[in-house]
């Protein structure tokens, strides 16, 4: 299936991209993160255990167990700092 990935703020800078279309078999957020870490480099560093980041699925905050479906918009970003 295909996911529309979007990245923001520090993660966008680290990954060197703000969005991508991703072909994956991951069915949960946790599985997707395992796959992204396997890319190595800043992906492994920024998404490593002990790092703080947030995942949103279709513009709602998601947890590791959140299910993924074909066509979902999945965002990964640092803790927010507005206001």
């Amino acid at each position: 299936m295909k996911l529309n990935m979007v990245y923001f703020a520090r993660l966008k800078d680290s990954f060197g991209t703000s969005q991508e279309s991703l072909e994956t078999d991951a069915t949960s957020v946790a599985e997707l993160l395992v796959e992204l870490r396997q890319r190595g480099g800043s992906w492994a560093t920024e998404l490593g255990h002990g790092k703080t980041f947030r995942v949103a699925c279709n513009q709602e905050l998601a947890g590791p167990d959140s299910a993924l479906r074909d066509g979902d918009e999945v965002a990964i970003f640092p803790p927010v700092t507005g206001g």
């Binding site: 970003f77 803790p79 927010v80 700092t81 507005g82």
Partner: protein, 152 residues
Amino acid sequence: MSPFTVSVQSGRFDAGAEIDRLSRNPACGAVVSFSGLVRDYGDRQDVAALELEHYPGMTEKALHAIIGQARERWQLQAATIIHRIGYLALGEPIVLVVTACSHRKDAFAAAEFLMDFLKTAAPFWKKEILQDGSAHWVEAKHSDQAASGRWQ
């Protein structure tokens, strides 16, 4: 127009106009506003400006969701959240929250709640631009997590 409005915009806002608008509701005896401004002491002492990024689409949803949570807790008659994005120089206003209630205690509590949750649940990110032209992303503050945690 709904009495509950959110806006994400690059231009300045007029706090007085928003307060006046929410003050027209005859049921509201209490109107509280919060204005947040670009300070000269963020993570660094030599901040010249901020660059505000957000997640278009999710931001508006998140702000409406925060207002929905406040309405479950308090008799909130009307509320406005305006958050600016883009380049904001020192002293510029960043965010405005206005709440209107029958009673002042509710108006104060709801406004503080909206700010605390906005700071932890609305997808905005600040980049500090220093006087030498260098820039860095602001780290999330533990105090903001604590501030939103106390409502739970």
